[in-house]
């Protein structure tokens, strides 16, 4: 959330997580290099670096892709979601080191341009076992590069959230390419099964996690609220909503977050103006509804970001009768002040 563009909005929390990410990467690489030095002292430095960065990048990609569903299952993972973009850029940087050193090691020693060599040294596209797996990694790296350079909000605003989201959904293609890069590459020549087992475990866990949470979310989205009165829809009882937190309701085409705050219930659109994050999964901090994805904030009574910020979301009317919460799904224009329902 910014009134003007700055390079990166580093607050105390982001700095803390960035140090954590850096520390973890250094720790992982050190352990990998040390163990290789002990058990395989004859490996060249380039080989060790290529393998260390490859495994680290794959591990980070799994963490990044698992963050979304984990945060939906347990709020304790929300800080990871908040810092996911930094982790993504870190992962790309590590993958770039892997790609760069691989091209240097395997293609830069001849008299052919390394990039030409990458695509022409092996053209057995009709073979599975001898498939040019390096090309898959190269294309995955291109996708990760495009994602990394457009990760700043500048690009989100200029490309529009729809285009930006579509571009960043290519991470799924990148993930597929990377898994196949590994399966058709190193796995074909690796006699130790541990690596394959770990990769399979990661893939199965990730796919299962996404399918389970995604199905759950879609089911929640399709929940039918059939008790209606005077334009209002009965949604839940007051006790079902925790203080400073919200419950999300999907009525017709509207996704609404109903927040409990200081003895009142307020309803605002569940969709954050920044990246479409679920505002109802956030909480009220300093009197503002705070998006769990990147910390964008809105006042509960009018859906406006506190000055000097200008983002606004729609507001809705709520009513309480005998501890039952009734919600009017007709949206008010963005930023309209509503009194909220007194509990």
């Amino acid at each position: 959330m910014s009134a003007s563009y700055t390079a990166v909005g580093w607050n105390r929390q982001k700095k803390y997580y960035d140090w954590l990410i850096l520390g973890f990467c250094v720790f992982y690489l050190s352990i990998f290099v040390s163990l290789t030095a002990i058990y395989n002292p004859q490996y060249t430095f380039e080989t060790v670096l290529i393998r260390a960065t490859a495994t680290l990048a794959v591990l980070l990609l799994h963490i990044i892709l698992a963050t979304g569903p984990l945060a939906r299952l347990n709020r304790k993972f929300l800080p990871l979601l908040y810092n996911r973009r930094h982790l993504g850029v870190t992962m790309f940087s590590i993958a770039l080191v892997h790609g760069g050193f691989s091209i240097l090691q395997f293609h830069a020693l001849g008299n052919t341009n390394p990039f030409v060599s990458l695509f022409t040294s092996n053209t057995q596209f009709n073979s599975v076992s001898q498939f040019p797996f390096q090309a898959l990694g190269f294309f995955a790296l291109i996708i990760l590069f495009l994602m990394a350079i457009t990760s700043h909000d500048f690009w989100l605003h200029n490309l529009s959230p729809k285009v930006w989201k579509t571009l960043h959904m290519f991470v799924y293609l990148a993930y597929f390419l990377i898994i196949m890069h590994v399966m058709l590459g190193v796995v074909q020549y690796e006699t130790n099964p541990v690596f394959v087992v770990m990769l399979l475990a990661g893939t199965v866990a990730l796919v299962s996690l996404h399918i389970i949470t995604g199905t759950k979310e879609v089911k929640k989205d399709n929940q039918v609220f059939d008790k209606k009165k005077d334009g209002y829809t009965y949604v839940c009882s007051v006790n079902e909503i925790t203080e400073s937190r919200a419950k999300i309701f999907c009525i017709g085409t509207e996704q609404i977050a109903v927040y409990k705050h200081s003895g009142k219930l307020y309803a605002i659109s569940n969709v954050c103006k920044h990246q479409g994050g679920p505002l109802g999964e956030g909480k009220i901090l300093d009197g503002c509804i705070t998006c769990p994805w990147h910390g964008y904030q809105y006042l509960p009574e009018n859906g406006q970001s506190p000055p000097p910020f200008k983002e606004k979301v729609s507001t809705y009317d709520t009513r309480i009768e005998d501890s039952k919460v009734w919600l009017n799904p007709k949206p008010y224009p963005e930023g309209t002040t509503r009194p909220g329902a007194v509990i």
Binding site: I179, Y189, D221
Partner: protein, 147 residues
């Protein structure tokens, strides 16, 4: 939000089909390996008897055994740093075709490498080895060990 969630779910459902399919296809194409464990250079010591040997300018290859002949070992010694950063060794019939050969293991550009071989090795390609660069998909060398 709703369509976006559906798109994400659709993408993962697609991956749930494509990833296992890709992994299974890739696994089916894994080369047949000699039933042996790759020995780490530091952990392996050469067996005492040299049965067969081949000498090249840059490396020496030997088949070794223990005193009773119950254990076999392939020894690969890089005399100088190889031009290839990494390569695989196949035991095959007398040809350059790795599709019918059995994967013995992988070597790096320098150092000594030891691979345990069992009795099936004798029928897997006798004393003929193919050194293969899997990055550029080309045969680097074929080696016939001699007694």
């Amino acid at each position: 939000m709703k369509p976006l969630r559906k798109k994400h779910l659709l993408a993962w459902r697609l991956l749930a089909v494509l990833l296992p399919a890709g992994i299974i296809i890739a696994s089916l194409s894994l080369p047949v390996q000699l039933p042996q464990q790759l020995l780490q250079p530091g952990a392996a010591s050469p067996l005492p008897i040299v049965l067969k040997k081949a000498d090249r300018l840059n490396y020496t290859v030997a088949i070794r055994s223990n005193t009773t002949g119950s254990a076999l070992q392939l020894e690969w010694i890089n005399k100088t740093v190889l031009q290839y950063p990494t390569a695989t060794i196949y035991a095959g019939e007398n040809s350059k075709d790795i599709s019918t050969a059995k994967l013995v293991g992988r070597i790096e550009a320098r150092g000594n490498w030891y691979f345990a071989l069992d009795s099936t090795f004798k029928t897997a390609g006798a004393n003929h080895f193919i050194v293969y660069d899997f990055i550029h998909q080309q045969v680097i060398d074929t080696i016939n060990c001699t007694p």
